[in-house]
């Protein structure tokens, strides 16, 4: 850690991991409710478990992104953070708001929550990922403004590297793209069309820039490759993301009431969306091969190299599977989408968050890298989580195939619930893989409780110090 104020990243990272645990717990509950519908009913209906699962995902990723910003921006700008106190205050506001919102989901019926939070005045509730009541949404905006103010002021007074410009720029984009959450047209088709500005705009646009910036930062730090080379390739990769991804939003508009031309435009542009992920893999491994030092934090390197591969699998490959209009005609609104969502969210955004946490946490705790024993636990956690998530995706894909065969494409289509009964084996496999994932997460977390520093020859220590 080069600047004292980078330390504010630590609570963000810790909270992110705690919320991550919460996300998985709700995921396991929801997964079990697929098999035993009466499990925890009526205390915790599926929709509450489901929205807790997805909202915690968003909140922990945002926590991790914010922590990453507070860690990276000062280091890249070569100056202290503009206001560490504001960053810390923002942390507590965000954590409290997040916890209160989840508590409200759990203990207040949703319609009642809407009634007491002014949803009738400005309706915003009842859309996927955006279920938060109005006060929470306003809180998110305030937290974002605080973050933007802090990192932008830091950027202005310091060195303006490309990594920092992309990172801060994409944080601005993240905040701006959230604003349509306050616009909920009464026309359902328009509402769906605009909902994707936020959801697609984040996960298939803006967040890919954040991913690029985080990965670029980690690679510069860990491989010692010339910054110029890393930064220009990151620019090219994020450029390709936007070239394919902006009009590629059309793959959400085929069957939701939008005009038919999106079938063609969406298919053509979104078919190219895997390209930036391929470039990202090629680039990352090129940097790895061109590395000028052996960084002792092997675990962080594993996360950093795993991210582009899993992002390509989840976002690129599984995304491509459902993106062309003729295929999506049958796959739209099935567990194919869930399989893609799980693998892409984890492979791209959870993994890049864990990569930056893996790189930064030892530094925040006063060492270059954790002990070899701790890293072994962390890497074991990596493999268990990655393989389990692939298991979840395969199981959900299996369920999706059954739906397509029996319900969507059949000459004599079966009703929804009958088909669901035929998919029980896949829902079991998904739940088992989910348990596996949870075990992997615990193994990963265990690594944080193994003290000690990485042991390496004094020679190398001196080399790293310079």
């Amino acid at each position: 850690m080069k600047y004292q104020s980078q330390a504010v990243a630590k609570p963000y990272f810790i909270a992110a991991l705690a919320l991550f645990v919460g996300q998985i717990v709700f995921g396991l509950i929801a997964g079990l409710q697929y098999l035993y519908g009466t499990f925890l009913f009526p205390e915790l209906p599926f929709d509450v478990a489901h929205m807790s699962h997805t909202n915690l995902l968003i909140v922990w990723l945002l926590m991790a992104f914010m922590g990453a910003a507070y860690f990276i921006v000062p280091e890249e700008a070569q100056t202290e953070l503009y206001s560490p106190k504001l960053a810390l205050l923002t942390f507590w506001v965000f954590l409290t708001a997040g916890a209160l919102t989840i508590a409200a989901y759990l203990f207040v019926p949703y319609a009642h929550l809407a009634a007491i939070t002014g949803n009738a005045v400005l309706p915003t509730m009842g859309r996927g990922y955006l279920e938060q009541p109005l006060p929470t949404k306003i809180g998110i905006v305030l937290v974002a403004l605080s973050l933007l103010f802090n990192v932008t002021m830091t950027l202005i007074k310091g060195r303006k590297t490309s990594i920092n410009l992309i990172l801060v720029g994409s944080l601005w984009g993240l905040a701006l793209l959230f604003l349509p959450a306050f616009y909920f047209p009464q026309d359902t088709v328009k509402a769906s069309f605009g909902w994707w500005w936020i959801v697609h705009g984040w996960v298939e646009g803006d967040w890919e820039l954040i991913l690029g910036a985080l990965l670029g930062f980690i690679l510069i730090k860990m491989t010692g490759v010339d910054r110029e080379i890393v930064e220009k390739w990151i620019y090219i990769i994020v450029a390709m993301t936007l070239v394919s991804g902006i009009v590629g939003i059309g793959h959400h508009y085929y069957y939701t009431g939008a005009p038919s031309y999106w079938i063609w435009l969406g298919s053509i542009f979104s078919a190219l969306e895997p390209l930036p992920f391929m470039l990202l893999i090629a680039f990352s491994f090129k940097m790895l091969l061109a590395r000028r030092r052996e960084h002792p934090n092997k675990a962080a390197m594993l996360w950093a190299m795993g991210t582009p591969i899993m992002a390509f699998l989840g976002a690129g490959l599984w995304g491509f599977m459902i993106t062309l209009a003729p295929a999506q005609y049958y796959m739209h609104g099935t567990n194919f989408t869930a399989a893609h969502g799980h693998l892409a969210f984890f492979g791209a955004y959870a993994m890049v968050s864990l990569a930056i946490i893996s790189y930064a946490m030892p530094l925040l705790r006063g060492r270059v890298a954790n002990s070899a024993a701790a890293q072994r636990w962390e890497m074991a956690g990596f493999w268990i989580m990655v393989l389990s998530m692939i298991g979840i995706a395969l199981a959900l894909t299996g369920a999706g195939i059954v739906t397509v065969v029996l319900q969507r494409a059949a000459a004599d289509p079966m009703p929804f619930m009958q088909v669901q009964d035929k998919e029980r084996v896949f829902f079991w496999l998904r739940e088992l893989a989910g348990v596996g994932f949870f075990v992997g997460l615990l193994v990963y977390l265990r690594s944080f409780f193994i003290s000690g520093e990485y042991e390496y020859a004094g020679e190398m220590k001196r080399a790293l110090a310079t």
Binding site: K232, Y235, I236, A239, M240, V243, P259, S260, Y261, W264, L265, S267, I268, F269, A271, L272, L275
Partner: protein
């Protein structure tokens, strides 16, 4: 082949490599669009044949001549700067910009006529492809002209020389790509039926 000739043939791509990544990406997008058009036409042959007759092919012909000539001017601008003649380079580029502007005017006149005839993105599949392709290309012409304008300004300001003229070739390569795409588009949408 003698040594000199093989050295000539071993030059790097003209201009900045970054623009070439972009050019290949754009060519891929247009390539997929062309393929989609071709296969959509196969599936809806009668519709395409009927709708294609509604186009005024002269617009496409004139625009091809304009764009090809504009592209030629840019090639001459590149030759001029290689000979160290900045002002001539600027003049050729302004000429290219003028022709690009003419292209836009002709295309806008055509669009105006199209809209008066009730052609929209949702009217039928041919109209959808025709409008998407030409509008997408139209935007590329606008973008290419913005790039050429910057390059022309810098040329007049003497920022390029016989030794350092990457900028001219970068902007020029993009403009030739816009020309290349139109040549295919013209044949596909206006001529072949």
């Amino acid at each position: 082949m003698n040594a000199e000739a093989s050295a000539i043939r071993a030059q790097p791509l003209p201009g900045d490599f970054a623009i070439w990544i972009f050019i290949f990406a754009e060519l891929t997008v247009f390539g997929v669009l062309f393929a989609a058009y071709a296969f959509a036409r196969s599936a809806h042959l009668e519709l395409f044949n009927a709708a294609q007759l509604g186009l005024n092919r002269v617009y496409g012909y004139v625009n091809t001549l304009l764009l090809v000539t504009s592209s030629y001017f840019v090639a001459r601008a590149s030759l001029s700067i290689k000979a160290g003649r900045s002002t001539a380079c600027g003049h050729w580029l302004v000429g290219a910009l003028g022709l690009g502007g003419c292209f836009l005017v002709v295309k806008l006149a055509e669009f105006h006529q199209d809209f008066a005839q009730g052609i929209t993105l949702s009217a039928n599949l041919f109209d959808m492809f025709y409008l998407s392709l030409t509008f997408f290309h139209f935007m590329h012409v606008v973008m290419g002209m913005a790039i050429l304008a910057v390059v022309a300004r810098k040329a007049y300001a003497g920022r390029y020389s016989a030794a350092d003229h990457t900028g001219v070739e970068t902007g020029g390569s993009y403009w030739h790509m816009v020309d290349l795409v139109w040549i295919i588009l013209f044949a596909l949408v206006y001529v072949i039926h």
